[in-house]
Symmetry: C2
Subunit: 307 residues, 2 copies
């Protein structure tokens, strides 16, 4: 008997990645496919809250996907995928990020849209398939959407996201602002974290030309709680750079209510990063007014500079 | 004022590529976008017949797209795109081929589905946008679909293609079998062609690992008319290999009614191609029973062997 197909999001999974794997697996199962929701790493506290709130089982942890068949959700670059993905067969992609480096031998279903969350696109896919979105699934999709758009405050938010949030909130029977605030509070539970954990808990790797670039992000309503540990965080970043051979390591500490970020830097290309982001670093920190989105405001200029 | 966005298909354009550029440009224009249908090469006789039949203007020829913004239809690899595409900004992709090497800095709308034609996916996009498909546009989409699926006979044909053909034929007010036969007759007008033209008229280039692989295809109801010129065609293929540095050059001469192909080969890796296609070449020709689709039956095994 053939192995099932795993529906799986990126490493250092966030709420949109986990909820998208769950919601898309449900849709495929409703259509008769043998698929299993999976994950490429530990579930963060916000996502744990969501899974408990909607009483949904945690997706299966995959250590090595070599030889498996995968549906990638919420990412489409190998550097962000589960280990072994290069040796797996990619059978579908549903994502809202830039187009990465996945290539296939056969034509597949590959769908990206420039919207605020993968959950938004999955809502379209339910509609197109004529499948009803049940309460629990609506709760998962709403959580992914609100988490990824910082409760519709991120500049990645589109009109489509706004109208879908209304509809999902109605089906899930919650007030989206109120529920969104509960999510934000989970995101902000930073005091308990170690510096290394802070850098890596929402972390993405990119290959820009020959450069390995890592970009972590902490979205918080208490920026000062993070910056109080600045020296320890910078030391952790230096450690990660030397362990994992990064050319550039950035950590965005994003104030989700003030809509601005402080970037911390490690690695060896500070000047190029200054040019790319049109800023300057003092003591390895730079102020980025208006910057909330790694994907939309940080990755593109860095890719242009390093790519 | 900003330049328009060009909606453009692959080099050596076929009917699906040209009709998709036209039909998608119409949809985007209906939505208020400043887009222009374009093409990357000369229109073939079948497509000329279609444009005349539906009284539609030929898309603008683009020589060099560097610096332009492009919507790619019916392809998503740079080796098949208009010259200068690597220096262009890719703003959307709609296609039904394998996932190629396009990467972007920003998230974009990227949509591939494993169906028989790009026209099939565009019909979905009209529906999703709630836009009516007018008679002329239905004629274009129907032509792309029937041409790419060899009037629903290719193994790439899906149930979706079949149901969309019925609907488009009704809107366009034609009998799809009858209209399809008219198209096939255009495709078969080979007697007038020079050997070099035969090899290159429907030709795609691939980079598999470090290997440059070119695969031409002639779909015909008169295989013997082509094979009568076998020696001249092989000489033309040798010429193309040395001019353009191909490692492998294949020409599939496909009998669309008999549902089989003869492959002719040039270049330096005959044994590897034999392994990949599970066949053997005699005097540089091999019989491929059941093989009608370059995309589905020839590209994947070659990519596995050379990639």
């Amino acid at each position: 008997m053939a192995n099932p197909i795993y529906v799986i999001g990126h490493q250092q999974p966030d709420t949109d990645t986990i909820c998208s794997a769950l919601a898309y697996a449900r849709l495929k199962q409703a259509q008769g496919a043998d698929v299993v929701p999976a994950r490429a790493g530990a579930v963060n506290p916000e996502t744990r809250f969501v899974l408990d709130r909607w009483d949904v089982e945690t997706p299966t942890l995959i250590d090595d996907a070599a030889g498996d068949r995968l549906i990638l959700v919420d990412h489409n670059e190998y550097s962000q995928a589960v280990s072994g993905a290069r040796g797996a067969e990619i059978v579908e992609v549903v994502d809202h990020h830039r187009i990465g480096d996945v290539q296939t031998s056969d034509p597949i279903f590959f769908r990206t849209e420039p919207v605020g969350s993968t959950a938004t696109i999955l809502t379209h896919l339910y509609d197109e398939a004529g499948e009803t979105i049940e309460t629990e699934t609506a709760g998962l999709l709403l959580s992914g959407l609100l988490s990824d758009t910082v409760v519709l405050r991120s500049p990645t938010t589109t009109e489509t996201d706004r109208s879908i949030v209304e509809r999902l909130a109605e089906t899930a029977d919650v007030d989206h602002e109120e529920y969104g605030k509960e999510l934000l509070q989970q995101k902000s539970k930073l005091g308990e974290k170690q510096p290394r954990e802070m850098v890596l808990s929402d972390f993405k790797e990119f290959e820009f030309g020959s450069n390995q670039v890592g970009i972590g992000q902490i979205e918080t309503v208490e920026q000062e709680v993070v910056l109080d540990q600045r020296d320890a965080i910078l030391a952790a970043m230096d450690e990660i750079v030397s362990e994992r051979d990064f050319d550039v390591l950035l950590l965005l500490v994003t104030d989700v209510l003030g809509e601005e970020s402080i970037a911390l830097i490690a690695g060896s290309h500070t000047e190029a990063v200054e040019d790319a982001l049109d800023t300057s670093f003092t003591d390895r920190g730079a102020f980025l007014p208006g910057v909330m989105s790694r994907k939309k405001q940080v990755v593109p200029p860095l890719e242009k500079t390093f790519g």
